[in-house]
Each structure stands twice: as structure tokens, then as C-alpha cells.
């Protein structure tokens, strides 16, 4: 404890008084990955967002392991286009990596079609998977996915579902897969952030909201929201009473998950990719990372280059089918 306070004061003092960067302590543990210089993670978001917090937390445990500083390069803009261009142009030496979400894949099929393709990159490691769930205000008549589907069937689709992103976004596609499975239609209302969706559900402006667990968790614990169902193979540890979609009889592909993975430029040596993946998965075992990951409700994944590349292929096929069905593909 005493040591902790001391360390804090030293670190803080350094940052405050001299504007110094806190230099990572370089005593490398044994990992196969020995980068020759600082490792840059290019992100498609601004500082302070979910992806940014993920990489910064990971970097804390990764830095001492690889004995090199981790530099975070925030490159927002173009729905990931600026970041992907940066990673694609980099040398495949493992010193420039990117972090991706499902948005990267739906983007490659729609607005960025022809600009980027999965083959432009090496898909190195999957770190987090984050199932999506549907929720309603605590006093709502809707208590389950079945209630939701039945209400939509009775009212000819007049149920408002608020989710993140426009038609064709990750969460919208999940809703469309449910439409395909049940034959009913819903009314998609696009929002630009998860807190906006939660506020709209709490205020009664939409009937049902879509979100990943993390940002919504405290509202469940406070008894303000209730879960209708999670799109996953198993129930969530933190909300054990919420059923999965499959348990309620809706057989929708459960590999449709929000993900955070690490990718790099194409033509990266497979052995290097494996080393990077191992280092990242090892860094995820650190206590600080585990604490963060559990608090934000995400699940860990240990997919290395081979599994992740296969996963990406599957995701692309699934997304393409869904976007095709929704009439959102240009050709």
C-alpha cells in the first residue's frame, strides 16, 4: 500500500511537474516477441473511447513484457479508412499494428468497398468478444424476446428498436437476422452512441434498445433496465437470469458478436504473427487488464492468427449475406 502511494506520487509528480512521459520500465519477461523498436497501435477512434481504453490498458502490461514502449496513434476519420490506410502502408515488421471491430468488416462491404478488403491485412489475434443484448425499460410490458416478436407480429412491425449505427451496422444486422428468423419486421431507429440509446429507452422514446453489456451493466444493477435476451451461446455470468435468444427459440448465428482484434499489414511472417498473438494473450492475463475487462463486461478470446483469420472469413460471409438480403450491397 505504502509502496503503491509512493509509486503513484512519483509517477504523478513526473507527469505534473515536468510534463514528462512516463517511461516504461524495461525489464523484459520472456516472450517470443522481441520487437526492434517502439510498437505503434493505430486506432480508428479518438482518445477516451472504448477501443482506446482497451489498448491503453493492454499496453500497460504489454510494455514490460516486450521491453519496448507501446505508442497509441489515434487516427479517427473515414469510418476507419484513415487508420486502415495507415496500417496497410506500414512495413510488415510487427511495429505497426491496428485494432479492429466489426465495423471494419461491414465498412469493407459497404462504404469502403473496393478501397479495403480483408486480404489487405493480416488478422493476428482476437482479444475481446462482446455479445449484444436487447433490453427494455424496467416497467415495460416486454419481458422477453418472445414478447418483442409477438408485439411486432401483432402490430405489423410497429415496435421501435434503438441501436447503434445506421441500417447495415453491426447491431442493425443482428436485428435483421432476427427478422429473417421470425418473419416479423421491426422499426430501426439509429443512434450515434450507446448512452443516447439508454437515455432514449429510459425516457420511453423507443421501446427496445440494443447494446453490449458494458455500458448498460450499471443500469441493470440499478434496476432501471431489464434484459430481453442475449445473442450468444451461453447466458452472461453477470446477468444469469437473462436468457439467450436460442433458449427462447430464435436460432440466430451466435458468431455475430462485437469483437476487438489486432491486425497488421498483409504479408507478415506467420511466425511473427503467432508471437504477437501470444504476447497479447499473455498480457491480457495481467491483473489490471482482467479487472478492466470484467468491469466492462467483455469476454476474453484466445484466437491466434489462424483461428482469427477463419473467424474473419466467417464474419465476412455472414455480413455479406445479411447486407445482400437488406439490399445494401451496391452490386
Amino acid at each position: 500500500m505504502k509502496f503503491d502511494t509512493l509509486r503513484r506520487s512519483i509517477l504523478a509528480g513526473a507527469a505534473m511537474a515536468a510534463f514528462l512521459h512516463v517511461a516504461p520500465v524495461a525489464h523484459a519477461q520472456e516472450t517470443g516477441w522481441q520487437p526492434a523498436g517502439p510498437v505503434t497501435f493505430a486506432l480508428h477512434t479518438r482518445p477516451g473511447g472504448g477501443t482506446d481504453v482497451f489498448v491503453r490498458t493492454l499496453a500497460q502490461s504489454l510494455e514490460p513484457m516486450i521491453g519496448q514502449p507501446v505508442v497509441i496513434n489515434n487516427l479517427p476519420g473515414g469510418g476507419g479508412a484513415v487508420q486502415m490506410a495507415n496500417v496497410r502502408a506500414a512495413a510488415p515488421d510487427g511495429l505497426t499494428l491496428g485494432v479492429n471491430t466489426v465495423t471494419h468488416f461491414t465498412g469493407m462491404l459497404t462504404n469502403l468497398q473496393g478501397v479495403f478488403a480483408p486480404d489487405d491485412f493480416a488478422w493476428i489475434a482476437l482479444s475481446q468478444v462482446d455479445p449484444i443484448l436487447f433490453f427494455a425499460e424496467i416497467n415495460s410490458d416486454l419481458n422477453s424476446m418472445t414478447d418483442l416478436v409477438e408485439r411486432a407480429r401483432a402490430n405489423e412491425g410497429q415496435v421501435n428498436i434503438g441501436g447503434f449505427g445506421p441500417v447495415g451496422s453491426m447491431q442493425n444486422i443482428a436485428m435483421e437476422m432476427l427478422e429473417g428468423e421470425t418473419g416479423v419486421t421491426f422499426n430501426w431507429v439509429a443512434f450515434e452512441s450507446t448512452p443516447d440509446i439508454i437515455a432514449a429507452v429510459l425516457g420511453g422514446h423507443v421501446d427496445v434498445g440494443v447494446a453490449n453489456l458494458g455500458p448498460a451493466l450499471s443500469f441493470f444493477e440499478a434496476g432501471r433496465l431489464k434484459g430481453l435476451g442475449v445473442l450468444g451461446d451461453e447466458r452472461l455470468d453477470t446477468l444469469p437470469e437473462m436468457q439467450t435468444w436460442a433458449e427462447q427459440g430464435y436460432d440466430v448465428d451466435t458468431s455475430w458478436l462485437q469483437v476487438r482484434g489486432v491486425f497488421g499489414p498483409a504479408d507478415m511472417d506467420p511466425a511473427l504473427q503467432q508471437q504477437i498473438a501470444d504476447a497479447i494473450h499473455q498480457a491480457m492475463q495481467a491483473e489490471a487488464y482482467q479487472q478492466y475487462a470484467r468491469a466492462s463486461g467483455v469476454l476474453d478470446s484466445d484466437f491466434g492468427p489462424q483461428e482469427y483469420t477463419e473467424f474473419v472469413d466467417g464474419l465476412m460471409t455472414l455480413a455479406e449475406e445479411q447486407l445482400q438480403a437488406a439490399g445494401l450491397l451496391g452490386n
Binding site: 509509486r7 503513484r8 506520487s9 509517477l11 504523478a12 507527469a15 505534473m16 512516463v22 479518438r46 482518445p47 477516451g48 482506446d52 481504453v53 491503453r56 490498458t57 500497460q60 489515434n74 487516427l75 479517427p76 476519420g77 473515414g78 469510418g79 479508412a81 484513415v82 459497404t110 462504404n111 469502403l112 478501397v115 410497429q158 421501435n160 445506421p166 441500417v167 447495415g168 451496422s169 422499426n187 430501426w188 431507429v189 439509429a190 450515434e192 448512452p195 443516447d196 439508454i198 437515455a199 429510459l202 425516457g203 420511453g204 422514446h205 423507443v206 458494458g214 455500458p215 451493466l217 450499471s218 443500469f219 444493477e221 440499478a222 479487472q291 478492466y292 468491469a295 466492462s296 445494401l328
Partner: protein, 500 residues
Amino acid sequence: MLDHILLGFSAFGDPMIWAALVFGALMGYLIGAIPGLGPSLGVALLIPFTYGLDPVVSIVGLVALYAAAEYGGAISGVLINSPGTAAAVATAWDGYPLTKQGRASEALGVSILASGVGIFLSTAFLIATAVPLSEFALRFGPTEYFALALVGLSLVAGLSEGSPMKGAVAMGIGLALATIGLDVQTGVPRFTGGEPEFFEGLPLVPVLLGLYALSEVLIMIEDGPADKVRNTLLTGGMAAPFRLVGKLKVVILRSTVIGYIVGVIPGAGASIASFISYAVSKRFSKTPELFGKGAVEGVASSESANNSAVSGALAPLLALGIPGSATTAVLIGALNIHGIQPGPLLFTRNPEIPYTIFASLWIGVPVMVLIGLLGIRLWAQVANIPRPAIAAIVAGICFVGAYASENSMFPVWVMLACGIMGYVLRKMRFPLAPVILAMVLGEMMETNFRRALITARGDWTVFFTSPLTVVLLVVAALAFLLPGIAILRSLSRRVRRAQT
């Protein structure tokens, strides 16, 4: 309640908290004053430094930075007509004319004290009303947000100088700029020319930099090195600004209340707060004709409102975990890093966080005011730097600031284009404020209009079902019509004079 507030103050037994507070206030002051670095970018840039720190220490530093940056935006607005944030645009309307009259130190003194009073009082509101007001703000749905955006636009129409038609054209330009990018509802790219860089829309900071700061550089180049009015320091030392503010207490109190309430509504934020309270102050002023030509009341109302909007924006964050502004959204990230997820349970689970924030806002006020008042001497000197040097400095900082906002050249080009456009518009006597405000409000207006129609299945009567919406729509209609009536009245007066 009281013991919780004491708990908040007790955190200040730790010298680290003090260090964070002073450091945050200093950085925020600087960030706000530099064109191109607003509070949200400033908080984002500092988040990496808070890693090794205790969560309470880091949140105190970041909140102090947020509040001070919201004030600092006034400095560049007053001195060089280049507001550092959209919320300081209204401050520059009167602040810059005051500088041109040699009264920069007066304008700066009023703005820092009005900001300080704004934060101090609104923090008291925050402690008393954070939870109930945030719950009320949840009633703001798509129709209410649409109507609120319309109120904002109508106020600018009434405030902008010169011909209302030119104001309308300027507003149209701002609205058109806001539509660039991927459509929020359908995801279709609009007016992007197929360039992915435009997908996320035009970033606000470079547009603001270009329209105001860079066009001002071009105007300075026009004026050349010829002499400008020397700014004199306010006589009477440190006490002088206090006497001035004493005369403005009604204006400041009213603007603080308006700023806080508007700030609580998620998404409305400091810029709408400052415009609304500026308009209200003008309406109630005994000398409305001075507004826009150097009225200290204008500076005071805009500044007290945009700073009390900081406390306002913190209310839904602390009470519900819903950010009230772009900066508070970044603050959520800063708390997440420490494993704290703000939500409805924050007050019960981590009471030290909200109550230390309250305490730090209060303790931060004297710190911020002291920094501000000491800074006036320095800034008054800045106002006296020869014009060519100022032009070079502003242009240089604009470039680097625009680049730093996204780490790419795209915002730099946006800023350049807007700079040249701003210069041309100013030469043709088109007002600039409607461009920037329409850009801020345009997306909010369109998105919520369409969201309202979609949730109501295309039924247009949805805009008349909520009493709150109807009230806001009536206010907007009145604000649009009043300037029109004034024009008709002055026309008929002129005709009558011509007849006699």
C-alpha cells in the same frame, strides 16, 4: 448529504489532489486559450497521463481542466476574434470590439469573474438538483431535441448583425456543411465526392479555426503593420474587475441559471447555453444597441452561461452515467480506465467521485480566478504585439492545432478552405456566427427530426403531442418572427418619414 460533501472536501487533505487541481486548471486555461485545442481534445490528450494516478486524483485534474478550458476559450476570442470553442463565439461578439477600443483587460476581467461566479453557483445547483433534473432531461426525446435546435437557430437569426436575409444564407451554408458525411439513419455517403475522409462529416474544430482565426489572419494582412489602438490596463489593480462585476450581478445570475439548465440536457451543451443567455440578456438590457459593439454585459452573460453549462453537463453524467457533452463523454473513458463505470449507482457505490468533483469545482474557482486575473496583464500585452507577428503566430498555431485534432492533414485542408470562405463572407458582410451555429445544430436538428418521424411511423402530428415540444416550437417561432416584425416596423417608420 452534508457528511458526503465533507467527504468530498476531505479528499483535499491529500497534496496530490491539490497538485492535480492546479495543474488541471493551468493546462485547461492554456488549452482553451490556444485556438484549435478545445476542452474535449484537451481532456482526451491528457487521459494517457492519468494512468498511473488514483482515480479521484485524475478525475479532479480532468474536471479542473474542463472548467478552465471552457473559460480559456474566451481569451483568444476577446483578443484576436478567434474563439477557442464554439461556446466562446458569443463572447467574442462583444469581447473583440472591446479589445479594439483598448479595453481588453476590462473584457478579460469580466469574463474570468463571470466564469468563476457561473461555476461556483452552478455547482450548488448541481449538488441540489443533479438527480431530479437529470431524470427530467430524460423526457427530451427526438421531438424535443428538434425543437430545441430550432430555438437555437432562431436566436442566431435574431442576433446576427445586418440583413436577416444574409443571415439566412449564412445559416444555409452552415446547415449544408452539417449534412456532409455518412447519413446517420441510412448510412449513405452524402456530398463526400466518394472520399472516405469526409465520411464522418466535417470536424467542427477546424471549421471554427478557419472561419474565425484564419480569416482574421487575412484581415490582419489587409490592415498591414499600421498602428493599432494600444490596450491599457484597467486602473485600480485587482479590485477593479470585481467592481465591474458587481454591477452585472443580475445578468450573471440569470445567465448562470440558463446555462446550467441547458447544460443538463444531454447534447445541448455550452454553445447553445451561451447563445440563449446572450439573447436573453440583450432582450432585458437597458442598452441593447450596445450589444455586438462592446457591451460588457454580453461578455458576462456568454461566459457565465458556458461555464455553468459545465456543471450542467456533469449532472447527467454523475446521476445517470449519460454524458451531457462531448467532453463528459471523454471523461467516461477516463473513469473506465480505472474500472469505474459511471451509472445510476455511482452515488451509492463510489460517492467519493461525485462529491470530490463538487468540492473540486468549488475549490477550483478561486484557483482559476486567480490564474485568470494574474494572466490579464500578460494577455493585455499579447493584444499589443505588432499585427504581423500576431498574424504569423495565429496562422502557425491554427495549422498545428488542426493537425493535432485528428493526427492527419484532412482537418488542415478543411481549415484552409473555411479560412478563405470566411474571408470572402466577411468582405461581403455576411455574418459568420449563423454558419458555425447552424453547423453545430444542423445535425441535431435533422437527426432528431427524422428519428421523430421514424418512431411515429411517419405521422407528422408527433411534433404537437408533447407539451414540452410545443412550448419550444412556440419560442422558436416567436424568435424567428420578432426580428421580422422589427424590420417591418422600421420600414414603415422610414416610409412615414419620407412622406412627411
